[in-house]
Symmetry: C2
Subunit: 211 residues, 2 copies
Amino acid sequence: MIDDTDIQILECLVEDARHSYTDIAEVVDLSPPAVSDRIDRLRESGVIRRFTVELDRSQLRDGVHVLVTLSASTSAVDSVYSAVCDASSVEHTFMTADNTVIFSTRVRGDRIRAAIDDIVNFSRVDSYDVSIIDTAKWSPTIGGTEFALSCDECGNTVTDEGRSEQIGDNQRHFCCSSCLHRFRERYNRIEDDVDAPEKTTIGSDDDSWSL
Amino acid sequence: MIDDTDIQILECLVEDARHSYTDIAEVVDLSPPAVSDRIDRLRESGVIRRFTVELDRSQLRDGVHVLVTLSASTSAVDSVYSAVCDASSVEHTFMTADNTVIFSTRVRGDRIRAAIDDIVNFSRVDSYDVSIIDTAKWSPTIGGTEFALSCDECGNTVTDEGRSEQIGDNQRHFCCSSCLHRFRERYNRIEDDVDAPEKTTIGSDDDSWSL
DNA sequence: AATGAAAGGATTAAGCC
DNA sequence: GGCTTAATCCTTTCATT
């Protein structure tokens, strides 16, 4: 799936999406076509949504930037959320686990209420609150816990306490030593099977995995 | 300053920052070097903050996405805000006009409180609230009131009620008909001056303008 | 802002492990 | 399957008008 090299590539692109494949290739120690292939795969799999540009909208004189918080009933919240997403003037959108939709938008200072009503019909909303945004920032920076690998055994996030080891041809990542040992055990059994190819059932229940 | 062509270029880049200058040049009807020059200018002036990539972070299994709302005293809010901005795990950041800082971040589910304390020391904060984000979106799309032009006469934002007209060689934009007429009047006076070049003082007070 | 030449980067295909 | 190398083609840049 996604490996360390992919993450390095993503880091480069987040920093500057116009970095040349040649530059990236040097950083990750691959050839330019290999980088190109990987980026294509990341695009197709949807990890990369799009290449875009971050603008300083305040320089474009585009109205007052407001943050709108609204709550809706469980039945209405999905349609409210998609209405917000579809509105072209909306920039940031969040839906929290408790049916609150939060979004930022630019509106002309003299018709804030009307603009919000345009975006999401007030009749569908239980309550709402508007605050004026003083400054806002979007940082796609990669760092800290942001880009975690998934455990090759159980799928959980790999944290600082995780383990990483070369098994067979690949560098593998695990969330804990148990998963590492479990994976290695299975790997060795497979290896044995290759030597003596009587098919045996490996593992139990619905555990699924692949090398 | 920024004209229609710049806005068209920005639209292209927002849609796909890897569009080639040649492609953009065709859309906006200029030569590739001209597009390159304009993009350089937009970068230098800070309108374009950076080229980046939009990622589907949910595919990277990177912890729980939470929205943190905190309020601080007027004296502390700036340092709290900059601490939040500097934190590498923080993605979206807002500061509202009433000293509320709102940000989204990814944290491991079992240490949300500790993670937030790392980002912004709790001692500097009056109160805070955390909600789990179900879905989030960032749409740099251009549309609606987002990209407003500034009036070529008074500098105000040009809205739907504005006027647009070809004067001389350029398409000009105005926030209202008064500005259009005022501009056209001056333009004609300049034209007359060119025919009969005795220099006269144009306009009054500190009004400044350029063709 | 356009042109044309030179440099630099992307993409393709063939071949390797 | 994923990688590299080398050739081709396209894009960007720079000097000039």
